[in-house]
Symmetry: C2
Subunit: 130 residues, 2 copies
DNA sequence: TTAAATATGTTATATTATTACATAGCGTTA
DNA sequence: TAACGCTATGTAATAATATAACATATTTAA
């Protein structure tokens, strides 16, 4: 379990912003939005983002270079993420599917590799965009 | 099935280079290597890369911004990729696991989304690095 | 044989992310 | 409390990744 009480000022500001959005935000768009709060440089944003990713409060959508809040209040799935991404409207949803997660968690390759993390992104068209 | 006979000069040069490497190559490292062959600008590389990804000859490792050749001669899996990535030595291997692929192919979320593609990346430590 | 589609070459620029360095705060422990 | 280790901060500069815009050429198909 992560300790959420230790978030610093910058981390809180940036997490707040990301949590208010239900869609992924890009680093420089975050930077633009938090300038009024005294965060002036990309590095300040990236440092906070990296920390928030590390503790599982947010996830990075790798194919989009964007960051979305983790809706799972327990924040235990920083290392096991599944997303669906609409290639038309770019809507992103985190998927929680017990059975699929189980399969992924239990997956063993034939090279004896020890996994501690996975990220899965599904692409397609959402209901609205079909 | 894709038509491989239609690759253009630039596409061939860049595919050759990527196929000679068993590990992912980055766009600007590719650019550096193909300058002697008359490819001078990033855009020429990215255009070839995008095409090669589209037809399934190579895959992009999203978490690494790098490109690796598809070893599957049939090239039918441009839209269904699974990789294992060692976080220590950065070795990347494409995984072909029938059962897992089946699960992913058959996965349906509860939002009625129609998927046409997925990308899964496993992270951990390979045998050598454990 | 013209039109449409695809690819090329080039310059410039946009976007994403890190290096390097100086400083500040905080908890431990001696 | 003083000294240390650790983490975070602020700032400037720059590296790394990727695309826009434009002119031209080549290929494909009607």
């Amino acid at each position: 379990m992560q300790k959420q009480e230790t978030l610093t000022k910058n981390q809180k500001i940036i997490l707040d912003l990301i949590e208010k959005s239900d869609q992924p935000l890009k680093a420089y768009s975050i930077l633009f939005d938090v300038k009024k709060k005294g965060i002036n440089a990309p590095l300040q944003v990236y440092r906070a983002l990296n920390k928030l990713v590390k503790i599982g409060k947010i996830h990075k959508i790798e194919s989009r270079n964007a960051f979305i809040a983790c809706k799972n209040s327990k924040c235990q799935i920083a290392n096991a993420t599944i997303f669906s991404i609409c290639e038309s409207c770019e809507d992103v949803t985190e998927i929680h599917d017990h059975k699929l997660s189980e399969h992924l968690r239990d997956f063993k390759d034939n090279k004896g590799m020890k996994y501690n993390k996975y990220n899965l992104e599904f692409f397609g068209l959402c209901k609205k965009c079909v």
